[in-house]
Subunit: 231 residues, 2 copies
DNA sequence: TTTGATCTTGACGTTTTCTTGATACGGCGG
DNA sequence: CCGCCGTATCAAGAAAACGTCAAGATCAAA
């Protein structure tokens, strides 16, 4: 269920990186690393990790500056690891946007616990885009797993919801039968196109005013289906 | 312009409280304090502060337990202040729901910086939840761990309460079986879905007028359960 | 040790959801 | 006009998920 987490370590000490990677591997966490601030900024923006471990003592630029630059565009949790234990350093880093500050040497257990805290925080923030679609008299909230039709709640079965979700995630674009089948029933049922007809019919009955003349759940003959927004 | 912030210090050392109050006053922060864990829980639910400073070495109960009890109903940031610097203590507190952990003695500057971080976090995200939920003929006070049905107190067993709390915290949203099992029985029992059925049945018998036709404790087949407010 | 409350476990009936087949519809080319 | 193909609809049986009850097991307090 939980997709593997990715953590970026901006850290120039290979030993520490290796140690971190080993420690995190057992927790379904993949570690990518960057040895310089510049490389870290690039990695952060291209790989978009779930959390960033940031060393303050980087060879090319000040860690606090890295922090600031990251905060210009992202709210990814930043956990600072530093050999400097001065209060001034901590305050500066925290005010630059860091979420936590650990002084080396630190225990791996504490680090993991603080990582858990940071991930807990980022779970509920408005970090990601809003997965709520409103169109016509439909309101579909993928995150809350909730569908309203003209204000009234509509109950969907698990597979109905999965199917609708796949369509809504690709709103206004054609989704092939193959892709839908794979998303809902798994890669093993790619040719049971009949499932699609049955479930699309069910969805139309639950969501459309005139199931025979759908306004949103459009079929693209020979290809797949499409969720149409707007009226 | 900014409305005053209110911080609750659950701390039995008057000296420290006085020092904190003085330090915070200059930052438009009002400090209220509670000398015991029990008093702290009450203050937290009645005053609903913006942040909680929690001493682990309280005279009446374990600080970690206080933390857990708070997390049963609220997401108010909790910053632990402790004389204990052992890694095990930190991990335990952080996993119990604390957001940060400072070891005494600490610098006031660092404390303020960490308070700023915590407040920054709580700004986004949905604010602290209500400590009391009323709907239909039910009145659920998560902070006091009390449940009234039509004015009469209902006795819940520990696990029943945990299950209800997890549902109520996510009122009107679907909570997956996985999440419920993890919250009540721990991460090791994620597939004992039978527990859920038994305990949901118990809860319905205690809280619903017609257990077979529940108005609040709704099941979402194949997914989980949902606590429905209003009619 | 006994007691009482709570938790765990298993069996069994019910409900919901999924799968499957039969049949009907509609556009298109022959 | 007819048959073909992909699609839509409906309903019944199968499978999975859920609700219920009650008998052990566990644990802490008396």
């Amino acid at each position: 269920m939980t997709a593997d987490l990715v953590i970026l370590a901006i850290e120039d000490e290979p030993q520490l990186v290796r140690f971190l990677r080993a420690s995190l591997a057992g927790h379904a966490i993949r570690l990518i690393d960057a040895p310089t601030g510049a490389a870290g900024l690039v990695e952060a923006s291209t790989r978009v990790p779930d959390l960033i471990l940031l060393d303050l003592g980087l060879p090319d630029m000040d860690g606090v500056e890295v922090c600031r630059r990251l905060r210009e565009w992202t709210k990814i949790p930043i956990l600072v690891l530093s050999a400097r234990g001065q209060e001034r350093d901590k305050i500066e880093a925290l005010d630059a946007g860091a979420d936590d500050y650990l002084t080396k040497p630190f225990g791996i257990g504490e680090l993991l616990a603080r990582i858990r805290v940071a991930l807990r925080h980022s779970q509920r923030g408005p970090g990601a885009s809003e997965p709520v679609i409103e169109t016509g008299n439909l309101r579909i909230d993928l995150a809350l797993r909730r569908v309203l039709r003209a204000g009234a709640e509509v109950h969907l079965t698990p597979n109905e919801f999965k199917l609708l979700a796949e369509l809504v995630k690709n709103a206004d674009r054609v989704v092939t039968q193959r892709q839908l089948l794979k998303a809902v029933w798994g890669p093993g049922s790619v040719d049971h196109t009949h499932y699609l007809r049955v479930f699309m019919a069910n969805l139309r009955h639950k969501l459309e005013d005139l199931p025979a003349r759908p306004r949103h759940l459009m079929t693209e003959a020979g290809v797949g289906y499409r969720f149409r927004t707007e009226t």
